[in-house]
Symmetry: C2
Amino acid sequence: MHMLALNKPDGRQLWLYSRNPLNQQGITAPSPFPAPLQANPHLRWHPLRGEWITYAGYRQERTFMPPPEYNPLAITVNADHPTELPAGNWEVAVFDNRFPSLTTAAHSAPELIVPTRPATGKCEVVVYTQQADSSLGALSLAHIELLLQVWADRTVQLGKLADILYILPFENRGAEVGTTLHHPHGQIYAYPLVPPVPAGMQQQALKYWRQNGQGLLEALIIKELNDGRRILYQGEHAVAFVPVCARYPYEVWVAPILAVPTFADLNDDQRRDLARALKMVLMKYDGLWQRPFPYLMAWYQAPVDGQPHPECHLHAEFYPPYRTAEKLKYLAGTELAAGFFAMDALPEDKARELQAVEVDIGNGL
Amino acid sequence: MHMLALNKPDGRQLWLYSRNPLNQQGITAPSPFPAPLQANPHLRWHPLRGEWITYAGYRQERTFMPPPEYNPLAITVNADHPTELPAGNWEVAVFDNRFPSLTTAAHSAPELIVPTRPATGKCEVVVYTQQADSSLGALSLAHIELLLQVWADRTVQLGKLADILYILPFENRGAEVGTTLHHPHGQIYAYPLVPPVPAGMQQQALKYWRQNGQGLLEALIIKELNDGRRILYQGEHAVAFVPVCARYPYEVWVAPILAVPTFADLNDDQRRDLARALKMVLMKYDGLWQRPFPYLMAWYQAPVDGQPHPECHLHAEFYPPYRTAEKLKYLAGTELAAGFFAMDALPEDKARELQAVEVDIGNGL
């Protein structure tokens, strides 16, 4: 993997990645925004829930659904109308979000009736490819492997920053989940704390690890493989399945079979097989109804707190918003207010639907 | 308050409520479904999150958006085409959901690779009025007071059932939050456990109570009243405000000023003022953009575990899906995957918008 780091004129950073050496000649980092970034989001403590909320007033102004002629994630072809990215032989690019909910530039917080603090952290955009009409699942296996390396590199680099404790790469795909830009991309949030959901998961995993000397997800994966009914991909090192405890009808998890704490801990064989599992799931999703399948994809990994985390197990969870081809699953009273999920489909039935979708993930190039 | 309990031919129960004595002559409980209810949902343990999920396969079949000519919550006018409700002088009605995620009839669970159990509990529908084109906020103060009494009665009655530990009345209003029926109604979920969100809130409240000998929400309300910037209604006994730690742009909380654990613990003065606060918020919502304002409304109260809960404070939280008149707030990566909310609006600004909406809540009749 090759990487080139550049600075945008408004003070943000850009990292270009490729499997091949990057042509650096004449490459500069553009920005659609002439003025320097003036971001100062802050956190407020929610006493009833015992968690922090971030407030960034200027985000209300961000583009909702830009006209089709402007794609800020395309390469810049006219220097008078710069986008976020330069031309070049890069394959994956990462840059600082112009509208961050968390930023290392946050420096103050208002005094209020609850505790507050600057919303430090980082929000990054990950552009998967230069091709605006592609998708994560349409990328070659080798390109997906590169993306897994990029996520690893960002995890390592962000983990070195003071105050950053948790790195979450995720992708919101489709208008149904609010995506405003259809160029294939995801995001990375680097939090100054371990957020509630990963914190809860880590607590469960740690308890299990101490009692059983084994990873909680690793133990579940062995049971899923033995059961077999919900498996979508089984390789030598990676697996994909509809979990027995799915909270969304088409929920799928993708993971290395053995517990690997972070992207940076994957070996080459594991990374290669994880790319295969990931592509298999994405192609099955798009094949199911022969149309782009919307989802939220989140990658959970160990906190970057400098401690070993043998209890943590890197994996992706996909939450698709549909419950049938025509019907959306709305999160409503019981899910949002109580945190108690009600499913009207059995994971075994949804797994059978996805198993029946035949796909060819190619040979790795 | 007057109440009449009836049994539907398919085995479900119906309770009619009114401020006046109920005319019982010739009233029977109809059902659109001739066959007895065959519900046997089950719970599965989610080991990574440490929580239960409920599975009820038949719910996939429920009506998504019925044609306008059929309203199952209207009164039955033709016995050949029964709805869920009889004619009569009732004002509020409650009946067992035909498609429950939880039911006392649940009797078995499949053996799987995670712990399972029958999904005991209850799911009820609360019809606010006989008028299909009305809304909660359009009801008279006295009618809203009756509804508060109905929620109290259901809390007491459901609390007496074995295995029920938590009662959550809520309303999903508007197509934006997935509502399929526009006749004014809400739901009640009676859980066989304290669900994750109220359990977390109770934990925070208990910790505060032990340290300070005061209710956590009561303390926050005093601070909100002293600050004043986010207050929408301040009465002698009840208050409504955009909380300083709002997670949704137009989030509002409605509560008695002093800590009251459940609906059943409200005295007459508190109930009367709570109805005023509630109507004020609902009228401001609908007045803001001069159109019905969608929301999720959830009422948190103390668990019904037979223990005293001085740390608990009955209150409603409203989560509206809009962030501006035109833009929805989608819950995506950071909210759903990390449980970390990012707000692009300041509660102080949203409170000002709602404060500016002038409404007349009437004199109580």
